[in-house]
C-alpha cells in the first residue's frame, strides 16, 4: 500500500465515521501497526492544513476526527444550526468541579458551589458528559461522578490531562502577593 493510498483510506474512514476514530481502530481496519495509523492521521492533518483545505483533522477524545475548518464556521452555521444549546453557568460550574475533582460526590459539589446540585448533576447525566463511576466507602455510600468520553468530545479535548490548569487562588488585595496554593 503506498502512502497516498493510505492517506486516502484514512480520510475516507474519518469522513464515514463522523465521530472521533481511535488510531487503534484505523490500524485494525487497514491492517497496520497503530503507530503507522497514527502517523497517517498526522500526515493527513498536516496535508489538510498545508493545502488550506476546508476540512481539518483534529485529535479529540482519544481518536481522530475530520471536521470543518473552524474559521469557516460562519458559512457552515448557515447550513446547519449549532449542535448543542449553550450550557448555563450552573451547569458549567458543576461540570468544572466534576472535571477537575473527579471522582466527586454530589455533596462535594454542593460544598464548593454553596447550592443544591441535584438539577445540574441530572442535566449533565442526561447529556452524557458525566456518569456514575462508583460509590465512596463512607456513610451512605454516596455515588461518585466522573466525566465521560463524550465530555472530552464536546469540549474538544484529547484527554483529561488536556484540561486547562485550574486557576490559582487570586492574589491577595490590591498590593498583590503570593497566596498559598
Amino acid at each position: 500500500m503506498n502512502f497516498v493510498y493510505g492517506l486516502a483510506i484514512v480520510e475516507a474512514l474519518l469522513l464515514a465515521s463522523g465521530e472521533p476514530l481511535p488510531a487503534r481502530r484505523i490500524a485494525e481496519i487497514v491492517g497496520l501497526e497503530e503507530r503507522a495509523a497514527r502517523d497517517l492521521c498526522e500526515d493527513l492533518r498536516r496535508q489538510c492544513a498545508e493545502q488550506q483545505r476546508g476540512v481539518a483533522v483534529v485529535e479529540v477524545a482519544g481518536g481522530y476526527q475530520l471536521v470543518t475548518r473552524p474559521d469557516l464556521a460562519p458559512y457552515v452555521e448557515k447550513l446547519a444550526p449549532s449542535r448543542q444549546p449553550a450550557a448555563s453557568a450552573a451547569i458549567l460550574e458543576t461540570l468544572a468541579i466534576i472535571a477537575y475533582r473527579q471522582p466527586v460526590t454530589r455533596a462535594d459539589i454542593e460544598a464548593i458551589r454553596g447550592v443544591k446540585a441535584d438539577h445540574a448533576v441530572q442535566t449533565l447525566l442526561d447529556r452524557g458528559v458525566i456518569r456514575e463511576i462508583g460509590r465512596r466507602e463512607s456513610p451512605g455510600r454516596p455515588v461518585l461522578y466522573g466525566t465521560t468520553r463524550a465530555f472530552l468530545e464536546q469540549f474538544g479535548l484529547r484527554e483529561l490531562a488536556d484540561l486547562p490548569p485550574l486557576p490559582e487562588r487570586p492574589a491577595s488585595g490590591p498590593a498583590g502577593g503570593e497566596p498559598e496554593g
Binding site: 479529540v60 473552524p70 474559521d71 464556521a73 449553550a86 464548593i112 454553596g114 485550574l166 487562588r169 488585595g173
Partner: protein
C-alpha cells in the same frame, strides 16, 4: 444608584458575595464584614422572587455573615495583623472559613468560563453529517421503546410454549452475575453485537430467561448497552456501549 442586579441573577450566595467583592474592589483576604453583610442583606429584599430551596441557601449565608460579624466584635487573642499582600491564614479569624470557600468557588467559576471557551471553540468544528457508518443501519431505540423490548420478550415466551413437566432444580443465577455474563458475552461477540433472541435459547430454563431479561434491563438502565432495531418489526440487537458514549 448603580445598576442593581437581582437575586435571580446569581448562582448562589457565594456568587453574590464574589460579585460584591469584585464590584467594590475589596481585598478578598480582608473582607470588611460589616459592610458586606449589609450589602448582602440588601439583595435579599427580593428573596420572594426565588424558590424556597434557593431562598434557604441565601438565608443560610446571611446567618453565617451575621455570625461572623458578631464574632469579629468579640475580643480575641492578639494576632499580628497580616501585612499587605499576606494571606489570611489566621485560623482564629472568624472570616477564615468563608474566605477559603469563596476562594475555592472562584477558582471553579473561572474554570467553568474556560470550559465555556473550549466548548465555543469546539462548536466551530462541524463533523460530517449523516448516519455514522459504524453502528449497523437503524436507529437506537430510545427509552420510550421499552414497550417494544417487552413485546419482544412476550413474543419469545409465547413462541416457547408451555414448559414441559419436569423436576425443578433450584436456580442459583443472580441478576447481578447474569449482567456480568452478558457483558462478557457482548465483549466476545463480533463487533460487540448480539441478537436479542440469541440470549434466549429455546431450551433455557424459565428462571434463567427471566433473570436474563432483568439483567438486560439493568444493563440498559446503567447505560452499559444500547438496543438497536434496524427496521420496524425487525430483530432487536444489543450492542455494548463504549465507555462514556452518549
Amino acid at each position: 444608584m448603580s445598576l442593581q442586579l437581582k437575586l435571580q441573577n446569581f448562582e448562589g450566595p457565594l456568587d453574590l458575595l464574589l460579585h460584591l467583592i469584585e464590584r467594590d474592589e475589596l481585598d478578598i483576604y480582608d473582607i470588611p464584614i460589616a459592610e458586606i453583610t449589609e450589602q448582602y442583606l440588601g439583595y435579599l429584599a427580593d428573596i420572594d422572587s426565588v424558590d424556597l430551596d434557593r431562598a434557604a441557601e441565601f438565608l443560610v449565608m446571611a446567618a453565617t455573615l451575621c455570625e461572623i460579624k458578631a464574632k469579629m466584635l468579640l475580643p480575641r487573642e492578639q494576632q499580628p495583623a497580616p501585612a499587605a499582600g499576606e494571606t489570611l491564614e489566621d485560623p482564629l479569624d472568624p472570616r477564615a472559613e468563608l474566605v477559603a470557600r469563596l476562594l475555592e468557588y472562584s477558582r471553579f467559576k473561572q474554570a467553568s468560563q474556560a470550559l465555556a471557551d473550549l466548548a465555543a471553540r469546539r462548536g466551530l468544528q462541524f463533523p460530517p453529517q449523516g448516519e455514522p457508518v459504524e453502528p449497523p443501519g437503524g436507529k437506537p431505540l430510545g427509552d420510550a421503546d421499552l414497550d417494544r423490548l417487552i413485546a419482544a420478550f412476550a413474543a419469545l415466551l409465547k413462541r416457547r410454549g408451555p414448559l414441559p413437566a419436569r423436576e425443578i432444580e433450584p436456580e442459583t443465577v443472580s441478576v447481578q452475575s447474569r449482567m456480568a455474563e452478558l457483558e462478557e458475552l457482548l465483549a466476545e461477540s463480533p463487533a460487540g453485537r448480539l441478537r436479542f433472541s440469541a440470549l434466549f435459547p429455546p431450551d433455557a430454563p424459565g428462571a434463567l430467561i427471566v433473570v436474563t431479561f432483568l439483567a438486560l434491563l439493568e444493563l440498559i438502565r446503567w447505560r452499559k448497552i444500547r438496543v438497536w432495531q434496524a427496521e420496524a418489526l425487525g430483530e432487536i440487537e444489543l450492542q455494548a456501549r463504549l465507555e462514556g458514549e452518549a
